[in-house]
């Protein structure tokens, strides 16, 4: 089956990416929070999401993200976080896929910052529904500020990874 070979190679790569992002997620879980504001964190695992968006098909990046979030929530035993991860992540993923279509890898840091901002907006929308009050919107400026720093960081990391690894472009 010669035509099946690249599929399996791809599947292995995606599994590897998912595993790496899960490891990053678990490591970050052990670190103490930088600032005691709910929702603020570095999001190391998103380095892989950014990398996948730029080097794989949109559905493949979405797959890596979904599996990571689902298994990650099992690892952390934190079901509430799953809602926030998903609402933020989906919005972020859509935005970043769109940006990666209209620009190239050189724009990965701004794209990542915009992605982080979309992630924060998704989180707050979810929080409004979960908490049943609009009071949480007052958190948005802090989340966006922390998010844009975290986004610049993850974007830079992803850029470094892309520069070092020559991925098989389909």
């Amino acid at each position: 089956m010669p035509e099946r070979k690249p599929d399996i190679k791809r599947l292995t790569e995606l599994s590897l990416l998912t595993a790496v992002s899960l490891i990053m997620f678990v490591i970050e879980m052990q670190l103490p929070p930088i600032v005691p504001v709910p929702g603020v964190k570095l999001g190391l695992a998103n380095i892989i999401t950014v990398y996948a968006v730029y080097n794989y098909k949109p559905q493949e990046a979405a797959l890596v993200f979904t599996v990571r979030v689902l298994i990650g929530s099992l690892f952390s035993g934190n079901v509430t976080a799953l809602i926030f991860s998903f609402s933020g992540g989906v919005l972020c993923l859509l935005g970043m896929i769109l940006i990666s279509r209209i620009s190239d890898v050189s724009m990965i840091v701004p794209a990542s910052v915009i992605g982080a901002a979309l992630h924060n907006i998704g989180q707050i929308i979810a929080a409004v529904f979960v908490m049943n009050t609009t009071a949480v919107i007052s958190y948005l400026p802090y989340l966006l500020f922390a998010g844009s720093i975290a986004g610049a960081f993850t974007g830079t990391c992803a850029l470094l990874v892309i520069k070092r690894i020559r991925p098989p472009k389909d």
């Binding site: 504001v37 709910p38 934190n78 910052v113 049943n132 009050t133 949480v136 844009s148």
Partner: protein, 121 residues
């Protein structure tokens, strides 16, 4: 051109949110009335200056948060949840930032002037 737009948007997000955060963080709260909101309902409205030191227990879904009022200040002293972020957030007066416990749907904040009545209905 697209590149410029992307850079401008991301820089704008950073600068505007940064400026807004600094402004909100340093802003004096509108009043000294503190609201304790659980699952979208305002449970307590406390005039914090004239409040005697006491403990308030708020329960949601069987999980308790112990809120302490001490020297005209409010903080969460104990929480039955997995991350205890609300406890780490410290005292409300340190900044105007509301204390939030996401798993137990609890918010403690300074009441804003007007427009907040619909949150109660």
């Amino acid at each position: 051109m697209k590149k410029k737009i992307l850079i401008i948007i991301s820089a704008a997000i950073f600068l505007v949110s940064g400026a807004l955060s600094v402004y909100l963080y340093n802003k004096k709260p509108d009043g000294r009335t503190v609201e304790i909101i659980s699952d979208g309902k305002v449970l307590y409205e406390l005039d914090i200056e004239n409040e005697s030191d006491r403990e308030i227990t708020v329960e949601f879904d069987g999980r308790k948060n112990i809120i302490k009022i001490e020297n005209s200040d409010v903080y969460v002293s104990d929480a039955e949840c997995y991350d205890h972020t609300c406890m780490k957030m410290g005292r409300l007066s340190q900044s105007g930032v509301p204390i939030v416990c996401l798993p137990n749907k609890l918010i403690i904040r300074y009441k804003e002037g007007g427009g907040e009545l619909d949150a109660r209905t």
